[in-house]
Amino acid sequence: MDNAKYDKLEIDGVFYKTTFPEKFINRKPWSAPEPGAVATYIPGTIVEVHAREGQQVKRGELLCTLDAMKMRNRVVAPLDGVIAKVLVKKGDKIPRNTLMFEIK
């Protein structure tokens, strides 16, 4: 056996010689979610931006309208705070997981 071909995986304190599929190698390591980061959960087009930088917002307040899957989706603030950054503008076509607003 050619050892160079194998990786090591530790389970219960024992190292096993094995190989890793691409899906495992390319996995995204876990990182703590940022509660004030508002990202797209669905790809779409920004129809209207309602919030501006420096604005005080309450949880549930409308930040922007996102046209996606034949629906005018309401993107709302996940928490009370101040809009630190607005990263989108009207007409932007954005993929999933694009950061749109940062609330501090």
Binding site: W30, A68, K70, R72, N73
Partner: protein, 515 residues
């Protein structure tokens, strides 16, 4: 000994067994913000209805000086009792006794009450609070888990099985809840994972807390392993009792009927909930409340895959399983998670004689590599499978959008829905007008001197001709186009008509759903 002395001796023995892990351990349990196993059982059951079995069971193990240790009841309490006068079987792991660790006798007690529940055809409620396998008992402990998993599987679809996670439930132990019908979790108390944070750290180098890895919120919002989330144990017990009022004792009977009650139509005016513009969102739960008795709706998996809503309500006193696309979350698309959620709920309803009412308003399946790589083909097929397989009364009301594959999947006539209704706002078509016009009139649009104007005109033309319920109704795919205000009346009638529904299905050992 005189009888009196015998009785006194018995009382003394019971008193000792009831102490569980003793004062110190109980103090620790309380300090963790948890009730004791016995308090939990008493809180769920009707007052004084609990009958305990196997109180004097003790472990038989000898290795590692185990023969010198006494574990009262071997760390688990089992028995029968009633909830609102109806019988159930229950077990509760006692964390104060050896950390609720599962050894051979502990598992044998759980298996005993499970066998009992299956034989007597009554629901089983299992309260999990255990550090895991009792390592000292070695392979006997694994055998115990296996015996429980086998019984969970045998009882699946025969009696309702509820798992309540009120402490750690880690490693192999998680598979018993996973095999049951409903999992209840409580914020900051429930912890479920296959491998804990320490192992994650050594193997993958990722630092994560127990709560972030397998807390109640994680399983309610992200993984979907839990069905009911509560902030306190007391709230959790109320949820359990409430759920049991909606579901039957077993698959041989129907859920108990309640006196019918009119919905709160002032609060939930069915004519004012759904905007006629198909691009405007709304909360579909208001539609459910507008037709359900007393506007009561017990939502299942409320925080998971919110783009579909499932749960129990009653119509004219009878339990109904509601399935509804949720336009105000991700436009109500079907995706991997929402398909899993709906498919499983439909199968529960079918197994336990609960009619299914589907409210449809969805644009289709969520596109993209992420979904495709996750296997949205396989997961989406679960919805088709579950609806096709179900033989309980199946009623669909199309509120607005019913396009493409989504139209077929959401309990269409073609999957043998018993009743297909559509509101006049329904758009039943092979795809949305925009997409369809772009394909059908591509040449005209491209060769037009003003393509954008032509496109708009063609979209409008397509919408006018096809984005309505009447094309489908003209082919008999829809039984009636109804006014929104008639919905409840028609649902009551349809459920009544189908109360004797009989369906012959081909003989088979079991189907092979796309797991």
């Amino acid at each position: 000994m005189s009888l009196k002395r015998n009785v006194l001796d018995l009382r003394k023995r019971k008193e000792i067994a009831r102490q569980g892990g003793g004062e110190e351990a109980i103090k620790k349990q309380v300090a963790m913000g948890k009730l004791t196993a016995r308090e939990r059982i008493e809180a769920i059951l009707d007052k004084d209805s609990f009958h305990e079995y196997d109180m004097f069971v003790e472990h038989q193990s000898k290795d590692f000086d185990m023969d010198k240790k006494v574990f009262h009841g071997d760390g688990v309490i089992i028995g029968t009792g009633t909830i609102y006068g109806e019988p159930i079987c229950v077990y509760a792991q006692d964390f104060t006794v050896a950390g609720g660790s599962l050894g051979l006798m502990h598992a044998r007690k759980i298996s005993k009450i499970m066998d009992h529940a299956l034989k007597m055809q009554v629901p089983l409620v299992g309260i999990n609070d255990s550090g895991g396998a009792r390592i000292q008992e070695g392979v006997d402990s694994l055998a115990g888990y296996g015996d429980i998993f086998f019984r969970n599987t045998q009882a699946s679809g025969v009696i309702p099985q509820l798992s309540v996670i009120l402490g750690p439930c880690a490693g192999g132990a998680v598979y018993s809840p996973a095999l049951t019908d409903f999992v209840f979790v409580v914020d900051n108390i429930s912890k479920m994972f296959i491998t804990g944070p320490e192992v994650v750290k050594t193997v993958l180098g990722e630092e994560i807390s127990m709560e972030e890895l397998g807390g109640a919120r994680v399983h309610s919002e992200i993984s979907g392993n839990a069905h009911f989330f509560a902030l306190t144990e007391q709230e959790c017990f109320e949820q359990i009792k409430k759920l049991l009022t909606y579901i039957p004792w077993s698959n041989r009977v129907k859920a108990r009927a309640f006196p019918p009650k009119e919905p709160k139509t002032k609060q939930y005016n069915i004519e004012k909930i759904v905007p006629s513009d198909p691009t405007q969102p709304y909360d579909v739960r208001d539609v459910i409340r507008a037709v359900a008795d007393n506007s009561d709706f017990l939502e299942v998996q409320q925080a998971f895959a919110r783009n579909i809503v499932v749960g129990f309500g009653r119509i004219d006193g009878e339990t109904i399983g509601f399935v509804a696309n949720q336009p105000c979350v991700m436009a109500g698309v079907l995706d991997c998670d929402s398909s899993d959620k709906a498919g499983r709920f439909i199968r529960f309803c079918d197994a336990f004689n609960i009619p299914i009412v589907t409210f449809e308003d969805m644009p289709g399946y969520l596109p993209g590599t992420e979904q495709e790589y996750m296997g949205v083909i396989r997961h989406g097929a679960k919805v088709l499978y579950a609806y096709s397989e179900a033989t309980v009364p199946k009623i669909t009301v199309i509120l607005r959008k019913a396009y493409g594959g989504g139209y077929i999947a959401m309990n269409s006539r073609h999957l043998k829905a018993d009743f297909m209704f559509a509101w006049p706002t329904a758009e039943i078509a092979v795809m949305g007008p925009e997409g369809a016009a772009n394909i059908i009139f591509r040449k005209e649009i491209m060769s037009s001197p003003n393509p954008e104007e032509t496109r708009k005109a063609k979209v409008a033309e397509y919408r006018e001709k096809f984005a309505n319920p009447y094309v489908a109704a003209s082919k008999g795919y829809i039984d009636s186009v109804i006014e929104p205000s008639e919905t409840r009346k028609i649902l009551i009638h349809s459920i009544e008509v189908s109360s004797n529904k009989t369906v012959m299905t081909p003989a088979k050992k079991h189907g092979i759903p796309p797991f």
